[in-house]
């Protein structure tokens, strides 16, 4: 379990550093969502399932939808009909 935690922590650091370095905003959002998923697994490993459920639902679900909708609204998504 400890090894898994270290791997997840490394992934957390990697996604946290990678998110602001992405050139496209869409990639930034996707990397941020990956951060949230890793964080949710880590919360459940740290024995706080309440936080894990909320992190998975809010961090990886709702905020992603809101980010995508915002990107669409400011015409930052390539390949949609808005373009």
């Amino acid at each position: 379990m400890i090894a898994l935690e270290y791997i997840l922590l490394a992934g957390l650091l990697a996604t946290a550093v990678a998110a602001p370095l992405c050139r496209r905003l869409l990639n930034t959002v996707i990397v941020y969502l990956a951060f949230s998923v890793i964080m949710a697994v880590l919360w459940s490993l740290l024995q706080s399932p309440d936080l894990a459920i909320t992190e998975a639902a809010v961090g990886a679900g709702i905020s992603g939808i809101l980010f995508f909708l915002t990107l669409r609204r400011i015409h930052a998504l390539k390949g949609t009909r808005d373009d």
Partner: protein, 296 residues
């Protein structure tokens, strides 16, 4: 500026609210007439200046962002170093308050899950404030993003209608099949998390978010018309307000009981969970709907 006789400040305010223009100030008039000491910059000069300012800003922005991030992380890490060791007996959190919470949560709030009992009842003011923040956030988004009814010549509305027509003609088969299977289970799971928050992990916030996710999936797969048939703007406003008022009422009742040392007649945290869940679900769905279409 001197008031016209018989026209008080209140009257002027109501006139201003009703859209009447203020009588023009004479000093402003004189200022406008005065010749400018420097000639006004031309369009190209202005654009050039703005662009150079933007370039300068973009050069400094990443460096400043990294610097601020490092300083903040350093400050937080210093704070972590000053924390007592994990599981330390002398740590300041190990006092009679935590003991009381763990021992009496079941008795005093009826919740087996101490976390739920704590956030919904012992620290209920905190959660009530959070619910109010969510309510206000949706209201602000509504103020900013709600599409006004400007008739058929509105460009945005035209585009929305066009997109709706495309979606009706060529529905997304994958999304619809997945949504048809997944939505009932999602809503059921949301209810489970919402109502089971008393005894197991979950509660109002997570359950409400999952409920909102289910609504969003349904709306995204089957279109806005399908969901607004039973979840119209009036229903939405009613549910949202009912949730917040229910929480406020229940919490007032809880404070009354606690102050008078009375036992609780029903499972309070279950009802509060439900109220919080309604507010959160409405917030989540409202954000989605307003960001996407500018209406509920």
């Amino acid at each position: 500026m001197t008031d016209a006789p018989g026209k008080g400040a209140l009257r002027r305010l109501t006139d201003w609210v009703n859209g009447e223009r203020e009588p023009k100030d004479q000093t402003l008039f004189v200022m406008e007439k005065r010749r400018l000491s420097r000639p006004e910059p031309t369009e190209t000069e202005h654009a050039q200046r703005e662009r150079s300012r933007l370039h300068r800003f973009l050069r400094w922005y990443p460096a400043a962002a990294v610097l601020i991030c490092l300083v903040l992380s350093g400050a937080l890490l210093c704070a972590v170093l000053a924390l007592p060791a994990f599981g330390d007996d002398d740590a300041p959190i190990h006092n009679e308050v935590a003991e009381h919470y763990l021992e009496y949560t079941r008795e005093e709030t009826g919740a087996a899950n101490a976390v739920t009992g704590m956030i919904l009842t012992y620290r209920g003011f905190d959660t009530l404030g959070e619910s109010c923040v969510l309510f206000l956030a949706v209201s602000c988004v509504m103020l900013l993003l709600r599409r006004e009814d400007r008739g058929a010549d509105d460009r945005e509305e035209q585009k929305l209608l066009q997109e709706d027509a495309i979606a009706r003609e060529r529905p997304d088969r994958i999304l619809q099949s997945v949504a048809r299977i997944l939505t009932p289970f999602l809503l059921l799971f949301a209810l489970y998390v919402l109502l089971g928050g008393e005894n197991s992990p979950g509660g109002g916030f997570s359950g409400g978010t999952i409920l909102g996710c289910g609504l969003i999936l349904y709306a995204a797969a089957f279109g806005h018309d399908a969901i607004s048939r039973w979840f119209s703007q009036r229903v939405y406003a009613a549910v949202r307000t009912f949730g917040l008022l229910l929480y406020a009422g229940l919490y007032g009742y809880y404070i009354f009981l606690g102050a008078n040392g009375l036992p609780c007649a029903f499972r309070l945290s279950l009802a509060i969970d439900l109220a919080v869940g309604l507010v959160v679900a409405c917030t989540v769905y409202g954000f989605f709907s307003l960001f996407q279409r500018g209406e509920i």
